[in-house]
């Protein structure tokens, strides 16, 4: 892969990788480390014939693996990253968004990644299953558990309303089931 292709990949999918790493690791510096490592690994790939979806899926899988590696090393750190602590946020943080981010951050790791990929990246449960290497039914189960936990964390919101507030018209506004 050339420097130009690497640069293009970062422009196109950099936010996806960074958000995923931030969500998983709950630490901005660790997320930057994973980001750098993922794209440097991409540089070593013969990715010139990959289409966009293939490239994005590879980046997500690699980022998840690196997050898992780093998470094992730094699990002792614990805690969540508040939305106010996220660097270079594009707009001011409102209380509801901060609560939702914090609530998702408190989810167990497996539930958190399912929520992030489903609601944040718009993947369907089958696609998430392929990315994570688990059956789609497992993903759906995790999403159900996640919504239940978020309902508790957020004080009794409707499970769909608490995170999705989706009408289905937007391609990224899918529901789990």
């Amino acid at each position: 892969m050339t420097e130009q292709e690497l640069s293009n990949a970062m422009k196109t999918y950099g936010d996806t990788v960074y958000r995923l790493a931030l969500c998983q690791l709950q630490n901005a510096a660790d997320a930057e480390d994973v980001y750098q490592d993922v794209f440097l690994r991409l540089l070593e790939q013969r990715a010139d014939r990959w289409d966009g979806e293939h490239l994005k899926a590879w980046l997500i899988r690699t980022a998840l693996n690196r997050c898992a590696d780093l998470g094992r090393l730094r699990r002792r750190r614990g805690g969540t990253l508040s939305l106010e602590e996220v660097p270079d946020l594009a707009r001011p943080v409102d209380e509801a968004a901060a609560e939702l981010w914090d609530a998702v951050g408190r989810l167990p790791e497996k539930l958190r990644v399912a929520v992030h990929l489903f609601y944040g990246e718009g993947y369907e449960s089958g696609e998430i299953g392929a990315l994570l290497g688990v059956p789609a039914a497992t993903v759906r189960s995790r999403l159900r558990r996640a919504r239940a936990e978020l309902r508790d964390l957020l004080g009794g919101f409707d499970d769909e309303e608490s995170v999705s507030r989706a009408d289905g018209s937007h391609p990224y506004a899918r529901r789990a089931e």
């Binding site: 050339t2 960074y18 930057e32 996220v86 594009a90 968004a97 939702l100 998702v104 944040g120 507030r165």
Partner: protein, 333 residues
């Protein structure tokens, strides 16, 4: 309509400067890989020919690329020609000579003045090793840890240091491109790392990789463009490198990082680097170096290190990709 979680995550973007840091690291690795290509293309892990230019340059089997990257710059069994201070009678001071500035205590009486002598050492950022010049004073700078951004230009990674004793100041100039100062910042605290990231994000500091060693300590190179000439207090720990301004560097040519690194090294081919050291009493010594770029001759040692020579590889060596691209400086009379 977007869901709430997507709305909030869409406000999160890759921090400013992070992409540049990744590109910097990619370029640094590419420079290291350029060295390793000579092995890969020759058939890594195979014996060198028993005859021909590579005869006797035995390479152990089972080398790995990371090791080579380390070995590339762990260069030189060459004797280090370090500078020193010579105490000698002052020559007759003539207008316009450095001796004119020397401390002459009593006119008519030969005074003892400090005449600084110095030498250049090449600095290998990847291994933090310094190595010295050949016997004729010429010295090779392999392309190493550098950084290219559209804003800051190309810090080529061809680094050198100035050695000597009691040098108070150094003065350097180059007739094309420019120079930059390279300082390795060590044992960075979290606060320092945050401050450096912020400085990179707001464009006040050239992007660089902040890295962690196995022992947990953090470090990063800090690179500062100095322009075509600089005079500053002598810091034996400082390294200087060849810098291509943004408007002149090879960038996004479509030829790849390695070729662009070589093009920027070629920018200095035929140029002149002038180094002057100044002692505390004002005595100066100046040496001009003619710069050349190209595929430099290398030799492998039995301990798997590589020696880079201040001369071009032979046509046969070049044909076999048995070289490291870089710059070398030859002292002018």
């Amino acid at each position: 309509m977007k869901n709430r979680y997507q709305e909030l995550t869409e406000a999160i973007h890759t921090p400013a400067g992070l992409n540049d840091r990744v590109l910097f690291e990619a370029r640094r690795r590419a420079a290291g890989a350029a060295a390793s290509s000579c092995r890969e293309k020759r058939g890594w892990g195979q014996s060198l020919p028993e005859t021909g230019p590579m005869a006797g340059a035995a390479v152990s089997r089972g080398w790995t690329q990371p090791f080579l990257r380390t070995a590339v710059c762990a260069v030189c069994a060459l004797a280090l020609v370090l500078g020193g201070f010579s105490l000698r009678p002052a020559p007759t001071a003539e207008p316009g000579t450095s001796a004119e500035n020397a401390g002459v205590a009593d006119a008519g009486t030969p005074a003892q003045v400090l005449v600084p002598t110095f030498g250049l050492t090449a600095y290998a950022a990847m291994t933090e090793n310094a190595y010295g010049p050949a016997e004729d004073g010429s010295i090779a700078f392999a392309v190493g840890e550098g950084c290219t951004t559209p804003e800051f230009g190309d810090f080529t990674g061809c680094l050198f240091g100035i050695t000597g004793e009691n040098i108070a100041q150094v003065k350097m100039s180059i007739d094309r491109g420019g120079l930059y100062r390279y300082q390795q910042r060590e044992n960075l605290t979290e606060e320092q790392r945050t401050a450096y990231r912020q400085a990179m994000a707001d464009g006040s500091l050239a992007p660089a990789a902040i890295s962690q060693r196995d022992d947990g300590t953090w470090y990063m190179p800090e690179m500062t463009a100095l322009g075509q000439s600089v005079q500053e207090d002598y810091d034996p720990a400082a390294s200087y490198g060849f810098w291509v301004p943004a408007e002149d560097m090879a960038y996004n040519t479509g030829l790849g990082i390695t070729t662009e690194c070589q093009m920027d090294a070629d920018y200095f081919d035929g140029g002149t680097l002038t180094v002057t050291v100044i002692s505390s009493d004002g005595t100066e010594r100046t040496q001009a170096y003619r710069l050349h770029s190209g595929p430099l001759k290398i030799e492998f040692a039995e301990d798997n290190s590589i020696t880079v020579f201040p001369e071009l590889a032979s046509p046969e060596e070049q044909k076999n990709n048995y070289f490291i691209y870089g710059i070398y400086a030859a002292p002018e009379d």
